[in-house]
C-alpha cells in the first residue's frame, strides 16, 4: 500500500496540490468554526513546508538537468503540456514560498477582523500558484501562473489593507503588472510560432536569430522589470506594500518580487544569450540608478513601511546586477540575496505590523524611545535592521559580497557604484532605527504599552534562525545550485 503511494507523494504535483486541498477543505467549513479553519490552514501550510524535504533528500547535486520532471498532457495538438520539475535554482524559491505562508496565516490570527475565512483561503491558494510558477517547465503556463497571482493579491490588498488609499494601491499593482506582462504573452506566442512548442527544456536548446532575441528580450523585460521592480516602473511597489496588510506585504516582498528575478534567470538569460549580453549595460544602468535613487529616497521617508519597501527595491536591484554579471559568483550571489531577501524585509514588515497593531500608526514621528517600553521588540528589530544593511554574519552579506565579486570582474565602475548602496543602506537603516527605538519616549501619542508576546516571538524565531544559519554556514545553498548555475553560464557562453 505504502509502496504504491510512494511514487505519488514524491511527485512535485503533490506539493502543488497539498495547499490547494487544504483550501478546498476550508472552503467547505462554515464561517463560525473560525479557529478550526485557521488551524487547518496553518497545518496544511506547515505540511507543505516540510514536504520539500523529500526533494531535498533525493536531489542530485551533480547534474544540471531538471529533476522530478512530471508531465501532464494539456493541449496535445500544440505541444503545450503541464510539465513541472526542479533544477538547482528553483528549490530556493519554492522553499522561500513554503516558509513564508505559515507565517502569513499566523500573523493574521488575531489582527484580521473581517472575512477571516477568505483570508485563510487566499494564502494557500497563492502558495500553490507560486510553487507551480517556480517549478513550471512550460513557457506559456509560466506566464499563466504568475498572472493568476494578480487576483488573490488584488483582493488581499483591497480588502484587508489598512487605509482608504489601498484601492489606488490595488489598482496600481494590478494594472502595472498586467500591462508589463501582456507583452510577454506576445513574446511567448512569437516563440511558439517559431518553434512549435513551449517546453522550456526544448526552448533552451533552440537558437533564435539575433534580431528576434532582442525583441523577445525586450518583451520579457517589460514583464519582469515591473515585477522586480526596475526604476521607472517601481512606483507600484511602495504603494502596494504600504497599503497591503502585514501578511500581504510579507508575501509580496518575500515572494512576489522574486517572480521577476526568477523570470530573468529562467527565461531571459538562457534563452536570449546574445540579447542578454547586448542589454547588460542597460540593466546595469537601471539597477545602479535604482540602488542609489531608492536608497536616497528611503532616507527621507516618514512612513515605516514605505521605508522598508524602498529598501527592498534597492536590494532587488542589487540582485539584478549580480544576475547580469553573468558569471558563477554573481549569479550565485544574486540567488543567495534573493533567498535572504525573503526573510529579512518580511521580518521587518512583521515588526512594523506589530507596531501598527498596537498603536495604529505607521508614521515615524509618533514613535520614539520604544526601547524603554518594548525591549524584546527592540532587540528583534535591531537584529533585522542589521541584517537588512547586510552585516557580515547575516544572510544578506553573503549574497551582496558575491554579487560585488561577480560585478567587479565584469565592470568595476558598476561594482563601485553598487557598493555605494551598502553605505546608503547602513545610513537609512540606522537612521530609521534610531528615530523609532531610541530617543525620548512620546507618551502623548503612545498610551498603551505591551511588549512582543510569545506568539510574535515564535513567529520571528524561524526568521532569526534562517538568517543566522545562512550567514554563518552558507555552504548548503551554493552546493545545491552550483551545477545549474555553471551550466547556465556555459550555455550562454558568457565567459
Amino acid at each position: 500500500m505504502l509502496q504504491s503511494l510512494a511514487p505519488f507523494h514524491s511527485n512535485l504535483s503533490g506539493l502543488i496540490l497539498c495547499p490547494l486541498l487544504g483550501s478546498i477543505i476550508i472552503f467547505a467549513l462554515p464561517d463560525s468554526r473560525i479557529r478550526l479553519i485557521q488551524s487547518i490552514g496553518l497545518c496544511t501550510s506547515l505540511i507543505t513546508f516540510l514536504y520539500p524535504l523529500i526533494f531535498w533528500v533525493r536531489f542530485d547535486n551533480s547534474t544540471a538537468k531538471f529533476q522530478f520532471v512530471q508531465t501532464i498532457r494539456w493541449l496535445p495538438d500544440s505541444n503545450i503540456n503541464f510539465s513541472i520539475g526542479i533544477d538547482g535554482i528553483s528549490p530556493f524559491f519554492v522553499v522561500l514560498t513554503t516558509f513564508l505562508i505559515p507565517i502569513c496565516i499566523s500573523v493574521g490570527w488575531y489582527s484580521i477582523k473581517n472575512y477571516k475565512k477568505e483570508y485563510t483561503i487566499a494564502f494557500p491558494i497563492r502558495e500553490s500558484i507560486m510553487i507551480a510558477v517556480f517549478c513550471m517547465l512550460d513557457l506559456l503556463l509560466s506566464y499563466v501562473f504568475p498572472e493568476s497571482v494578480l487576483i488573490p493579491m488584488f483582493i488581499i490588498i483591497g480588502i484587508w489593507g489598512s487605509r482608504q488609499r489601498k484601492i489606488q494601491a490595488a489598482y496600481q499593482f494590478f494594472l502595472y503588472t498586467l500591462l508589463g506582462s501582456v507583452f510577454m504573452l506576445l513574446a511567448i506566442l512569437l516563440i511558439f510560432f517559431q518553434t512549435g512548442t513551449t517546453d522550456v527544456q526544448i526552448l533552451l536548446t533552440t537558437e533564435f536569430s539575433e534580431r528576434r532575441q532582442i525583441l523577445l528580450w525586450i518583451a520579457f523585460f517589460a514583464s519582469f522589470s515591473v515585477k522586480v521592480p526596475m526604476v521607472p516602473v517601481h512606483i507600484w511597489l511602495p504603494e502596494a506594500h504600504v497599503e497591503a496588510p502585514t501578511a500581504g506585504s510579507v508575501i509580496s516582498a518575500g515572494i512576489l518580487s522574486k517572480l521577476g528575478t526568477h523570470g530573468f534567470l529562467r527565461f531571459s538569460i538562457p534563452m536570449c544569450p546574445v540579447a542578454t549580453l547586448y542589454f547588460t549595460p542597460f540593466i546595469y544602468t537601471l539597477s545602479v540608478i535604482a540602488i542609489i535613487y531608492t536608497s536616497s529616497t528611503t532616507i527621507r521617508q516618514i512612513d515605516l513601511k514605505k521605508n522598508i519597501a524602498y529598501s527592498s527595491v534597492a536590494h532587488m536591484n542589487f540582485g539584478t546586477i549580480g544576475m547580469f554579471s553573468l558569471n558563477v559568483q554573481g549569479i550565485e550571489g544574486s540567488i543567495s540575496l534573493m533567498l535572504s531577501h525573503g526573510p529579512v524585509p518580511s521580518a521587518l514588515f512583521l515588526c512594523v505590523g506589530a507596531l501598527y497593531d498596537r498603536h495604529k500608526t505607521r508614521l515615524v514621528k509618533y514613535y520614539g524611545g520604544l526601547v524603554s517600553t518594548m525591549p524584546i521588540f527592540s532587540t528583534i528589530s535591531l537584529f533585522f535592521t542589521l541584517a537588512n544593511m547586510s552585516l557580515p554574519g547575516t544572510s544578506s552579506f553573503i549574497g551582496e559580497f558575491l554579487i560585488l565579486v561577480g560585478a567587479f570582474q565584469r565592470n568595476s565602475l558598476v561594482a563601485t557604484l553598487a557598493a555605494l548602496g551598502m553605505i546608503l543602506g547602513a545610513a537609512y537603516s540606522l537612521w530609521l532605527y534610531n528615530r523609532v527605538v531610541f530617543g525620548n519616549f512620546k507618551p502623548n501619542f503612545l498610551q498603551k504599552f505591551s511588549d512582543s508576546d510569545r506568539r510574535e516571538v515564535l513567529i520571528f524565531l524561524p526568521f532569526i534562525v534562517g538568517v543566522i544559519w545562512m550567514g554563518v554556514y552558507p555552504e548548503v545553498f551554493p552546493e545545491c545550485m552550483h551545477t545549474s548555475v555553471s551550466n547556465l553560464v556555459q550555455h550562454g557562453r558568457f565567459d
Partner: protein
C-alpha cells in the same frame, strides 16, 4: 446524407411548429373568461424552454458528419452549422430560463415575448445554414423584426419605446445596405448562391482599381458594412448603447449575444467561403482595432450597468473580429472559441444582473456592499469580471490568448498589440465592479431578493463550466477545429 430535405430541417420545423402552438395556446387561454384571464407567461415560458431543449436534442440527433445541401443549394448543413446551432439553442434556453422568474417579479404579462424569442431563434436557425444571399437576407430580416418588437415590448417605459424605435430605424437601415450589397453582387454576377459565387470569385482580385468589375467590389463593401452594423462593430455601433440600456434587461440579455452568434456564422460563411479574398481584410482590421479601442475607452466612463455591458460587448466584438479578419484556420478557430467563452460569460453576467432586482439595478454603485449582503453572488460576479478582463486561469484568458495567437500567426502584429493594450485598459473597468462590491462601503445598503433556482443553476453552470477548459482544453479545441475545417474545405 439525408434522403429528404425536410428530414434535415426537422429541428427547424419542430421549433416553428412549437412556436405556433404556443402562440395559439397563449392567445386562447389568456383571453378566456372561464379561467379568469390567467397570466400565461410562465406556462408559455416553461413550454418554450422545453421545446428549445427538444430542438437541441433533434439537432444533436441529426448530427451530420458529412455535408448536406438542401433545397437546391439554398441551405447547407455541415459540422459548422451543426455546432453553431447547438450554441445558439443553448443560448436561447439559458435566456428563457433566466427570464422565468423575472416575469413574475416584474408582473409582466406578455407571453408573446417568449413566442417572439422562439420565433427569432427559429429564424436564426435558418440564418446559420443559409447558403444563398437571398435566404440569408430573409432569415436576417425575420430575426431583426422579432427583435424590434421585443425591444419595445415594455410599453409604459419611455426608454424601451425609444430603444425599440432606434433599433428599428438603424436595423432597417443596415438591412437596406446589406440588401443593396446583395443586389449589386447579383447584378454584376447574375448569381446569389454562395457556392456558385465562390466559383466565380476565386482569384478574382476584387481591389477597387485592379478589379475586373468595381461593382463586385462595391457589393462586397456594402454587405460588409451591413454586417458590421448588425454586430455593432465600431464605426457602426452608435445604436448599441442606447438600445442595450433602453430595452428590458432580459431582452438585452438575449440580443446582446444570440444574434451575434448567428451573424458571425453568416459572416464567416460569406466572407471566408464565398468572397475568400484578402482584399476585405483591411476593412475588418480597421473595424477590429477601432472597436477594441472604443470599447475599452468608452466603457471606462460609464456608470450604468447596461451601458457598460454594451461597450464591453463592442470591445469583445473587436476581439472576435481579430479572429475573423485573419482568415486563417487558426483565426476562425479562435473566433469560435472566443464566441463560445463569451457566451458563457455573458449569460453569467446577465443572470447576475437579472438576479439583482429589488427596486432597480441601474447604476454600478448599486452593487455596493454586495460582498456583505450576498457573498456568494459577489464571488461569482468577481470571477466573471476577472474572466472578462482576461486574467489567466479563467476562461476569458483562454479566448483572448487564442485570438492573439491567431493574429500573430497571420502576421497582424499591430492587431495583437492593440488587442493586448486595450485588454489591459479594459481591466480597469472590469475590476472596478470588484472594487465596488468588496472595497467600497456605501451609505445605503441595497438588499436584494434571493434569486430563484433556475438562475442560480445557470450561474453555477456558467461559472464552473469554463474552469475545465483550463484544466483540460482539448475538447473545445478539437470541436472548434472541426468547425473551422468544415467551413473552409
Amino acid at each position: 446524407m439525408f434522403e429528404h430535405d425536410f428530414l434535415a430541417l426537422f429541428p427547424e420545423i419542430f421549433l416553428i411548429n412549437a412556436t405556433l402552438i404556443l402562440l395559439i395556446y397563449g392567445v386562447v387561454f389568456s383571453t378566456s373568461q372561464k379561467y379568469d384571464y390567467p397570466p400565461l407567461v410562465r406556462n408559455v415560458g416553461w413550454l418554450g424552454l422545453l421545446s428549445v431543449l427538444i430542438t437541441i436534442l433533434l439537432v444533436a440527433a441529426g448530427a451530420p458528419p458529412t455535408v448536406a445541401n438542401l433545397f437546391y443549394n439554398t441551405l447547407i448543413k455541415d459540422n459548422f452549422t451543426y455546432f453553431c446551432q447547438i450554441f445558439l439553442l443553448l443560448r436561447t434556453a439559458s435566456t428563457i430560463a433566466m427570464c422565468l422568474d423575472h416575469f413574475k417579479q416584474e408582473s409582466l404579462n406578455a407571453f408573446e415575448t417568449i413566442v417572439l424569442i422562439l420565433l427569432s431563434t427559429g429564424s436564426m436557425l435558418f440564418m446559420i445554414p443559409a447558403y444563398d444571399l437571398i435566404a440569408m437576407y430573409l432569415a436576417i430580416e425575420l430575426q431583426s423584426l422579432c427583435f424590434y418588437v421585443i425591444a419595445a415590448s415594455k410599453r409604459d417605459s419611455e426608454f424601451s419605446t425609444e430603444a425599440g424605435l432606434k433599433y428599428f430605424i438603424l436595423g432597417a437601415f443596415s438591412s437596406g445596405i446589406l440588401l443593396f450589397g446583395c443586389s449589386m453582387i447579383y447584378g454584376f454576377t447574375g448569381i446569389t448562391n454562395s457556392e456558385e459565387l465562390a466559383k466565380i470569385l476565386t482569384g478574382y482580385e476584387i481591389t477597387l482599381f485592379g478589379a475586373h468589375s468595381s461593382g463586385i467590389f462595391l457589393g462586397i463593401l456594402f454587405i460588409a458594412v451591413g454586417f458590421l452594423f448588425k454586430i455593432t462593430a465600431v464605426p457602426f455601433h452608435m445604436w448599441a448603447p442606447d438600445v442595450y440600456e433602453g430595452s428590458p434587461t432580459m431582452v438585452t440579455a438575449f440580443f446582446s449575444i444570440a444574434p451575434k452568434i448567428a451573424i458571425l456564422a453568416n459572416m464567416l460563411r460569406v466572407f471566408i467561403y464565398t468572397f475568400y479574398d484578402p482584399t476585405w481584410q483591411p476593412l475588418f482590421f480597421l473595424c477590429s482595432i477601432a472597436s477594441m479601442i472604443l470599447g475599452a475607452l468608452a466603457a471606462m466612463a460609464q456608470n450604468k450597468v447596461k451601458r457598460l455591458s454594451a461597450y464591453s460587448s463592442i470591445g469583445h466584438v473587436g476581439y472576435l473580429c481579430i479572429g475573423f479578419s485573419c482568415g486563417t484556420i487558426e483565426g476562425i478557430q479562435s473566433l469560435l472559441i472566443g464566441i463560445f467563452i463569451y457566451v458563457l460569460m455573458t449569460i453569467n453576467a446577465f443572470a447576475t444582473v437579472l438576479a439583482l432586482r429589488k427596486t432597480r439595478f441601474k447604476y454600478l454603485a448599486d452593487l455596493g456592499a454586495l460582498a456583505k449582503t450576498n457573498p456568494t453572488l459577489a464571488i461569482t460576479l468577481s470571477i466573471t469580471m476577472f474572466s472578462y478582463a482576461g486574467i489567466p486561469p479563467l476562461a476569458g484568458f483562454r479566448s483572448k490568448f487564442y485570438l492573439f495567437f491567431a493574429a500573430l500567426g497571420c502576421g497582424a502584429y499591430l492587431l495583437a498589440l492593440v488587442g493586448v493594450v486595450t485588454s489591459v485598459i479594459s481591466c480597469f473597468y472590469y475590476i472596478r465592479l470588484v472594487k465596488i462590491m468588496y472595497f467600497d462601503t456605501p451609505k445605503t445598503w441595497i438588499l436584494y431578493k434571493p434569486m430563484d433556482r433556475e438562475k442560480s443553476l445557470l450561474l453555477a453552470i456558467t461559472l464552473f463550466s469554463p474552469t475545465p477548459f483550463f484544466l483540460y482544453p482539448s475538447p473545445l479545441f478539437l470541436v472548434s477545429h472541426q468547425m473551422a475545417l468544415s467551413l473552409c474545405l
